[in-house]
Structures are given as C-alpha cells and as structure tokens.
Symmetry: C2
Subunit: 339 residues, 2 copies
DNA sequence: ATTAGCACTCCTCTGGGGAGAGTGCTAACA
DNA sequence: TGTTAGCACTCTCCCCAGAGGAGTGCTAAT
C-alpha cells in the first residue's frame, strides 16, 4: 500500500503541525499553512482516505485529525539518515561532553542531563555494562565482622564493588595473599571470561584457603552477573509534565511510577538492540503505561569495552527528527572522544 | 497565649479529621464524630476563637475550617515522644533492614524504599558522609592517557572514587610506590583529618615524584571535600501524586522539579541539625515550592563513623504522629544494628 | 455559658443555549 | 475525472443561571 505524493505531503503536514500544537489539525489549517496549491475540500477528501488507510484518527466527528502510530512509523522510517542540528546544539553537546569528567559514572550522569536538556524530554541512561571490559585490578578490604569489600576496577575506570562474606577468623595476611593472587590471575582478563574461568584449575594453584577462595570467587562472579551495579540514570523526568497530553495527573502518575521501576526500565531500554538507533512508537511498546509514549534508544560506547544504552522517552507526538539527530550525534561524539 | 482544654480538644479533632479527609471540617462533623458533649453551636464559637488566634483558616465563608501551619506546629510539639507503631510496622522495619546488605549504598537505597513504603510519602535519604570515618585503604589504578582512578575505602565499607590526572609518562612502579606510601601514611586516619594533614612534611618524606604526589593529593582531598560523592536518594517520589492537594499538575511539577535539584535538596535536608528529629511545617520552609509541604528529617548512623540524614516530604496535612514514630524507630533500629 | 433556630453566604453541580470549528456531502466546474 | 465552493450537520467548549447543600454567624432563649 503506497501513498501517492500528495497524500504523503498532506500526512507529513498533519504530523508536523500536530507535533507542534498538540491539537487536531483541520483541512483549512493545512491549506493555509502549507501551500499545497489545493483547496481545503480536496485535502478533506485525502484526509478521509488517509483515515481509512489507518494513518489518521479523529477524536470526534467535528474535530481535525491526528496522526496514528502507524503514521509516525511511516514518517520515522522515511526520515533522512543524516543529522540535522543547529550550530548551537552541536556546540552545546561539544561543550558539555568536553568538560573534564571524573569517572564513567559522572559521564553517564552528565549524559542524562545533556539529553534531557536538549530534547526537553525524559532521558534514560543505563550505566555501561562491563562485560566487554577487562579487569584491571582487584582490591579486597577486610572490614571485620566477617565482611570484606571486594572492589574491581576495569581498564575503562569503572568500579565494581560488592560486599562479600568471609570467615570471621581470617587474618589480614591471607586476605592480602588472596588479593595478590586474584590480581595476578585475573588482571587483564575480560570480565566476560572470568565467569567461565576454570575454577578447579585455579583452586589447585592456590595452596591454602580453598573455602575462602571459593566463597569470594562466587561472590565476585555473582557481582559480575548481577545487575545491581548497573544503574538507571534519569534526566528531566519532570519534562513530561510540561506536555499537554499529560495534564491529567493520573496519566502522569502511570508514567512516573514506571520510571521508578529501574528493573523494568532496564529491560525496556535493552530491548532495542545493536548499533542502530531503535524507535518504539506508542502501541509498539509492550508496557501499557507507555502506549502513549515513544521510546528512542541507542547504544553508546565509553571506550575500554564499556557499552551502554541511552534513551529518550516522550509522548508519541515527539520531534522525531530533532531527537533522532541529537541521539545519533551524541553517540557519535562519544565514540570519537573515547574511541 | 494558652489554649484551654476544650479549645485544644476541638483543634486536635479538626487536625485529625482534616488529615484524614483533606476536606474542611465543619462544626457538625466534630460534634458527631468526636463526642465532646457539646453542641455544634458551641464548637462554632470555639472555632471562631481559634480562627482569631491563628490556628484555623477558612477557605471561604460557608466552608468548614482547616488547620493553619501554626496549628500543626502546636500539635507536633505536643506529640508524645515515644513511638506508637503497629506490630506490623515494627515487623516490616525489622525484616527489611535485616536482609543482608551488600554495601552502604545499598543500605541507603533500601532505606529510601522502606521509608516511602511505610509512610506513603516521598522519602529522601542523603548518602552518609564519611568525614567521621577512617580511611582504610587506598588504591591507585593507572588507566593510561594520563589518567588514574583513585579509590578509597573507609572502615565502614564506603567507597570514594575519583579520576585524577597524572603525568602521562609515569611508570607503573612509581604509581605502586605512591599507593603503598599513601596506604602507610593515611590508613586509619579519619577522613576529616586528612584534609589538615601537613602537606609539607609528607612531601619531604617522599623522595621522588613530588609533583605527582601533589596533584594526586590535591585531587583526593578535593574528592573528600566535594559533595559529588554524597548522593541524594529518593523513594516513592510519585506518592506525592496521590495526595489530593496535588491533583493540579502545576503544583506537582513545582515539587518534582525541586526534587530533581539534588544540591538544593541536600541543603534543605541538612538544615535540620543534630540528633533530634526536625520538623519543618509549611511556611516554615524557606523554599516557596515547599510552602505547602512539611519536611521531617533525622540523623542516621551506619556505624564506623558514617552519618547521614534522612527525610520525609509530604503535604502539611501529614500523619505526623505515624511518620515521626516511624522515623524515630527506624533511626533507632539502625543505631542498634550498626552500633 | 450553652444551645436551638434561622437567615445568609458561598460553593458546586447541572442543564441549556450559543458560538466556533471542522467535517461530509452534493453539485458545479475545468 | 479530479477539484472546488457551498452548506447542512455534528460535536465540543464555554458561559450562565438556578437549584441544592453545607456551614456559618447571629440572636434569643434556657
């Protein structure tokens, strides 16, 4: 089912106007604002067709039309691939990302702020996962009362920390020996591989403290496996309140409650996969709370094997061209900085 | 200006009813629900007096009365000091705090959840400050490109991490020497004192790499001084949306935008000082966005010198007795667990 | 000092009517 | 055959008036 040139023009005009005004768009308005050289009556006929094709919807008989999710999908898929940003935006991205960062956590926080500030939407940044990173150094700090803090640093400068239980009567020297040994054996090993390291072989190497070793290793591997270290960072969650479609408190609540569920958010953002920017429009989203929203996600790289995903959440009526350009540009800039 | 017995009873009755219903309370309702043995007319007279004294307000002529901030203040100051909790609540606190925690960060997150779940309000937990904690171990990890990660662990198991700049041409051994030396010299020293450690004397001890030492130490002390590590954790921010006084999106936005300003929140919560629970009611708050809210804050201790503050933010119409009891009980429980 | 009674005020809810926006249809036109 | 002008129709939104209700303040009686 292809749309002819004019239908497409009209559809785009409606999408464009609706994105700006959040009001149903009438035939007169289209004829006036976008000089297509045809009368409102003609546009009405076309609109009627477009509605039948499922690209437009009518809130009620005597209102204008609003684009359907399907229309947005058509529009997004047809967007030009190359970014269209103002010089000011490019400048802003450059400046904010160039400011000296202290740790990858801060980069990620900054990223969330940048994204929400530039898009006026809610941004979601998933802390980078370290699976592709190499372990650089391990530190084991006894804290007394049978507890120790296990801290790993990846070559990207990312921290993994985890409280582990150890026998309460272990002495400082054994801990140090274990730490030294862990460093020798695991330093430089990609985290992903640590999981599959042959435990038995390692145990044999270590002459004493087998049980200690076991428990610590289990904990450590658990830390690598678990998502606990993988944080969800939000930026500008209140931006959503400015959108006219969320002037009803109940709708706001549904979304904000969702945003508090880190695990859910993680899953949703992770659904978009791979290197390409992923766009999920309205009813394409699984979660009912997000059926009025669109989610744009993309992969970002911080160098040293640190990979994460970031996303923009907003109403389906979103400035897709701007947001997509921005996301693409930011990811690219990050790549250049850390590549 | 003292209130006689009956005025006080009536005032408390109004506060009680208003907290429950969020509707202005009329004289009839008081006479019916709280058998004070007097007629609505008498209560009306007393209410009129109470209004003149500034304890009640009238939204409009023919509505009931609502308590003023001053009334809440009177009420809160007169609350019994000892906690009144249901067995279920005590049980819940116990269970949630008893579950094995992995790090102080997780404790704090859990704490925020617990507070918001039990109070149905928004909870704020400031990550514990380490000033009173002792430094246990320091780790310096070179990352190449002139950067290194400096990680400190306190005896309470809290992490301080900071990216520091180092000369790009420094070799691994010098770093290790510096790390070893930092550990010997600073291990066991309270963080607070590290700031005032005599730099000059230390520099003399270290035979080489003076400039390296200087820059690293500066950074490290900067990390201790700065608030960057001191995080604000929120729990149940959406609870505020359920309150009838926030059914207007604009009011919600004012509060939620405030809650996104970590630095502001930090300051506000920190204003309550010392060991006693602090209550700040309505107009007693400095920030205009909080003039319809009350903030209850208290100090908590995680042992090992880790001290932080936690708070509950809700409408002035808050169940002060329950919330205060809860906060008090939770702080006490934490003390017992980590003391 | 307390209370019953009553007039009065003010909010809120409801329904009707007019204005406005936009459509769909029909008939005329190029 | 596609396009357009005209027009009746529909539906929402807003305003307004009036009824209903809740609660007060005052007065006079107890």
């Amino acid at each position: 089912m292809e749309l002819d040139q004019r239908k497409r023009q009209i559809l785009y005009a409606i999408i464009h106007d609706y994105i700006q005004t959040a009001e149903p768009v009438g035939s007169r308005a289209i004829a006036r604002r976008h000089g297509l050289g045809v009368s409102p009556a003609t546009i009405r006929n076309e609109m009627s067709d477009l509605e039948e094709l499922g690209f437009l919807e009518q809130p009620h008989t005597s209102a204008g039309r609003i684009p359907s999710d399907r229309a947005y999908r058509l529009y997004v898929d047809a967007l030009p691939k190359k970014a269209s940003l103002t010089a000011r935006e490019v400048e802003l991205v450059k400046r904010m990302l160039a400011s000296r960062m202290r740790s990858s956590e801060q980069i990620v926080q900054q990223l969330a702020k940048l994204l929400s500030a530039l898009t006026n939407q809610t941004s979601i940044v998933l802390g980078p996962s370290e699976y592709q990173a190499r372990l650089r150094q391990v530190q084991l700090v006894g804290l007394g009362r049978g507890q120790a803090l296990l801290v790993g640093v990846t070559d990207g400068g990312f921290l993994i920390n985890r409280m582990v239980e150890i026998p309460p009567d272990i002495d400082e020297r054994s801990l140090q020996r274990l730490q030294l040994w862990l460093n020798q054996r695991l330093g430089g090993v990609p985290l992903e591989q640590i999981r599959s390291v042959d435990m038995r072989a390692l145990q044999d190497e270590l002459s004493s403290g087998i049980s200690l070793f076991e428990s610590v290793m289990d904990e450590f591997i658990g830390a690598l496996r678990s998502r606990e270290a993988e944080r969800v960072y939000l930026g500008g969650a209140t931006n959503i309140l400015s959108q006219p479609e969320f002037k009803d408190v109940d709708k706001v609540r549904a979304i904000l409650e969702l945003l508090e569920e880190d695990a859910l958010i993680w899953d949703v953002v992770m659904q978009g996969q791979g290197n390409k920017i992923s766009v999920s429009i309205g009813s394409e989203n699984q979660l009912t709370a997000m059926q009025n929203c669109s989610l744009i996600t993309a992969e970002y790289h911080l160098g040293g094997g640190l990979v994460g995903r970031l996303g923009i959440l907003g109403p389906t009526r979103m400035e897709y061209d701007r947001v997509l350009s921005l996301v693409q540009h930011i990811c690219q800039t990050l790549n250049e900085m850390f590549g």
